[in-house]
C-alpha cells in the first residue's frame, strides 16, 4: 500500500466514523446516511483498488485515473453548489414573503 492510499484511506475511514457517530446521535436522516456511506465506501474501495479507476478512466477515454476522479469531483461540487443556490433562493423568497406579510398587516401612519 502506498502512502497516498494510506492517507486517503485514513481520511475516508475518519469520515465514515463521524457519519456513524452522527447516526448514533440521530443528527442525520437514515436516507442521507445510506447515500453518504455508499459514496465514501465506493471511494475507499477505489483508493485501495486504484487499478479499477485507471481501467474505468481508460475505458471512458481519460488517460489517468486521478483525472477521472478530479473531473467527477468537480461535477459533483458544481451540482452541490447548484442545490445550495436553489435552497438559498428559496430561503430568501420565504423571508421576503414573511416580511411583506407582516409589513402589510402592521403599517403605521395610516
Amino acid at each position: 500500500m502506498t502512502t497516498s492510499q494510506l492517507l486517503l484511506g485514513s481520511l475516508i475511514i475518519f469520515i465514515i466514523y463521524r457519519t456513524a457517530r452522527a447516526y448514533k446521535n440521530k443528527t442525520l436522516s437514515a436516507s442521507f446516511i445510506i447515500i453518504w456511506l455508499i459514496f465514501w465506501l465506493v471511494g475507499l474501495i477505489l483508493v485501495i483498488q486504484q487499478d479499477w479507476v485507471v481501467r474505468l478512466a481508460n475505458w471512458i477515454g481519460i488517460g489517468r485515473g486521478v483525472d477521472l476522479v478530479i473531473y467527477l469531483s468537480l461535477i459533483l461540487l458544481y451540482y452541490f453548489v447548484y442545490l445550495i443556490l436553489i435552497r438559498l433562493q428559496k430561503i430568501e423568497d420565504n423571508i421576503t414573503k414573511i416580511v411583506r406579510e407582516q409589513t402589510l398587516k402592521g403599517g403605521s401612519g395610516r
Binding site: D93, I95, T96, V99, R100
Partner: protein, 228 residues
C-alpha cells in the same frame, strides 16, 4: 386615486422633503421604509403619508412590490414610483401621469437621457447605458433609460406585476413582465439630479451602486436558471 410609492432605505436626509414635494401631485404617498437603521421612518410620517416598514432590509425591488401589493389592496387607479433620495423633481409627476390619464399607454417610464441628467458621472452614464443594452438583450424592448425609478402604472399593469427580484435586477424584471403581458410602454423625459447636498452622491455610495449594477446580469441569469 393616484398614489406614489416611495421605497426608502436610510434616507433620513431627504425623505421629509421628498414626501412633502410628492404629496402636492398625488392623492396619497406610501413610503416603504426598507429596514432603515436611521430616522427615515419617523421623518417620513406626515398627514398625507402612509409609512409601511420592512423589519429588515430586503432591497428596492421588494419594497416596490410591497407598495404594489398595498396599492392593489386600496384599489389605486394610478401608481407613481418615486425614489426617496431626492434625485427626481416632483413637478415632473403630472407629465408622467398624463399619458395614462388620457389612455395613451399603460405604463410610463421616466428617462433621464430623454430629459436631463444633471451632474451625472461618466461611470454612472456608462453603467446605465450598459443596463439599457442588457435590458434590450433580455427583453427586446428598445428604451433609453431602464434603471430609472420614476415610473407610472395603471391598474392593469399594477395587477400583473409580481416582482421576484428583491434588488437591482427588479428594473429589468419590470420591463420583462410588462412585455410578457403585452402592456403599452411609453418613455417620458424626466430630470435626475446627482447633487451632493442631497446626501446621495458620496463617491462610496456611487461606487456601490455601480458594483450592484454590474451584478444585475449575473442575478437575472442565475434566478432564471435556478427557477423550478
Amino acid at each position: 386615486m393616484i398614489i406614489a410609492i416611495v421605497p426608502a432605505h436610510n434616507e433620513e436626509k431627504t425623505i421629509r422633503n421628498v414626501v412633502s414635494d410628492v404629496a402636492k401631485y398625488v392623492d396619497k404617498t406610501v413610503v416603504i421604509d426598507d429596514g432603515s437603521t436611521d430616522e427615515t421612518f419617523q421623518k417620513a410620517i406626515n398627514r398625507k403619508t402612509i409609512v409601511l416598514r420592512h423589519v429588515i432590509n430586503l432591497g428596492q425591488g421588494a419594497a416596490l412590490q410591497t407598495g404594489f401589493d398595498y396599492a392593489k389592496k386600496i384599489k389605486a387607479d394610478i401608481v407613481v414610483t418615486y425614489d426617496a433620495d431626492g434625485q427626481f423633481v416632483a413637478s415632473d409627476i403630472p407629465a408622467v401621469i398624463k399619458p395614462i390619464l388620457t389612455g395613451k399607454t399603460d405604463v410610463v417610464l421616466g428617462s433621464r437621457f430623454l430629459g436631463r441628467a444633471i451632474n451625472i458621472s461618466w461611470t454612472r452614464r456608462i453603467i446605465l447605458k450598459l443596463g439599457v443594452m442588457f435590458t434590450y438583450l433580455f427583453t427586446n424592448i428598445r428604451l433609453t433609460d431602464t434603471h430609472n425609478g420614476f415610473r407610472a402604472l395603471n391598474q392593469k399593469a399594477l395587477i400583473v406585476l409580481d416582482l421576484e427580484h428583491n434588488r437591482w435586477p427588479h428594473a429589468t424584471e419590470i420591463i420583462f413582465q410588462l412585455k410578457l403581458h403585452r402592456l403599452r410602454i411609453l418613455e417620458i423625459p424626466v430630470t435626475v439630479r446627482y447633487l451632493k447636498h442631497l446626501g446621495q452622491s458620496a463617491a462610496v455610495e456611487l461606487d456601490t451602486a455601480n458594483i450592484d449594477a454590474i451584478k444585475i446580469p449575473f442575478d437575472l441569469t442565475t434566478r432564471a436558471l435556478l427557477k423550478k
